[in-house]
Symmetry: C2
Subunit: 202 residues, 2 copies
């Protein structure tokens, strides 16, 4: 088993933190996305969506999509639970993780994907769409600050995959000057807590 | 328990089909999204993301996000399994469902969201982005046709949530004139099979 990883991108970091929280070690292979190694025919055979991370299983199959890789490890190593402890909790963790993906991660990565030189010629860039994403990202951070007023973590009183997604999204915001505002106290408090866990360095 | 539903939108249909496949009956409340009932303060208290479907639980909590609702029911009623039968299968089903969401559903709904009068004034529309989504949707249908050459269903030899997502995405393509091409024989064969299951009418 090996994990095709990239230290540059936010999604592989989600898997690395997930594994660190569970104490699982998986050999990694760095994919040089700056050199477009993820767009070669060789990599496309592993994942036609050309995204990292990708997990190569011992039977030779390739599992891609960040959360699918996490789900696989959650099933194999349920402790500590990061994706819910029963049916209803799994539902709410999934809801919060998806909100962090669609409302935070996608909006925060939008300006980078659609206005930064890195993606020029790699994807069809639509700068106006990048700006819509930026405004939405700023709005969603304010909303999330309010949500965190009465609980410790994103999905409740336990650290979950939703916290990992939010942390990786917010840290990636730095490249687009999207950040937690000084008056967003609940979000600041949460950020300090999750970013000082040892897993965050993974 | 009740499900806030809309017959107009593709995502609530995913939950209805999921429930029909499992033989679960849940009372539904129609949300009139044409009249923007999902944007009222009352509905935002249920789901600040203003999306349907939303499931109201017996304890008064609201669970939103289509796949989170499905995950909850999968946990309560594991048979027939629609989200995988073990850790590795759950990983691959999640991978395929996410591919169907991000590559198919999002690209197919993009032109509608960004160029159709329905969304004017509801979301910031970026027609150029809608067109990028349309081109990607057409390309992804061709890719999916190739993927289906050697297996019966999207995620393998068993009907799963990934088939439900793909079916709802493709049917929604009609409003934007995005459809399976006559020469996409594998996709046609798959479509005929899944769209004639009794659940598809849910």
């Amino acid at each position: 088993m090996q994990l095709f990883d990239s230290k540059m991108a936010p999604n592989p970091r989600r898997v690395r933190i997930f594994l660190a929280e569970k104490g699982i070690e998986v050999p990694t292979v760095q994919v040089d996305i700056a050199a477009a190694e993820n767009r070669t025919a060789e990599f496309q055979a592993k994942n036609p969506m050309v995204n990292v991370p990708v997990l190569e299983l011992d039977d030779g199959r390739y599992l891609s999509e960040t959360v699918a890789i996490c789900r696989y490890f959650e099933g194999l190593h349920p402790d500590p639970p990061l994706m819910g402890v029963d049916a209803v909790d799994a539902g709410f963790v999934e809801m919060w993780n998806r909100r962090m993906e669609f409302e935070l991660m996608n909006n925060i990565t939008g300006p980078f994907r659609h206005t930064h030189a890195f993606f020029k010629g790699r994807i069809p860039q639509v700068p106006e769409w990048g700006e819509v994403c930026r405004e939405a990202a700023v709005e969603r951070l304010a909303w999330l600050d309010g949500e965190l007023a009465d609980r410790e973590f994103i999905a409740g009183d336990r650290f979950t995959i939703a916290d990992i997604t939010a942390l990786c999204a917010i840290d990636f915001g730095a490249v687009s000057q999207i950040k937690i505002e000084p008056d967003q106290n609940h979000l600041q408090r949460w950020y300090e807590k999750v970013s000082t866990r040892s897993s965050s360095g993974a």
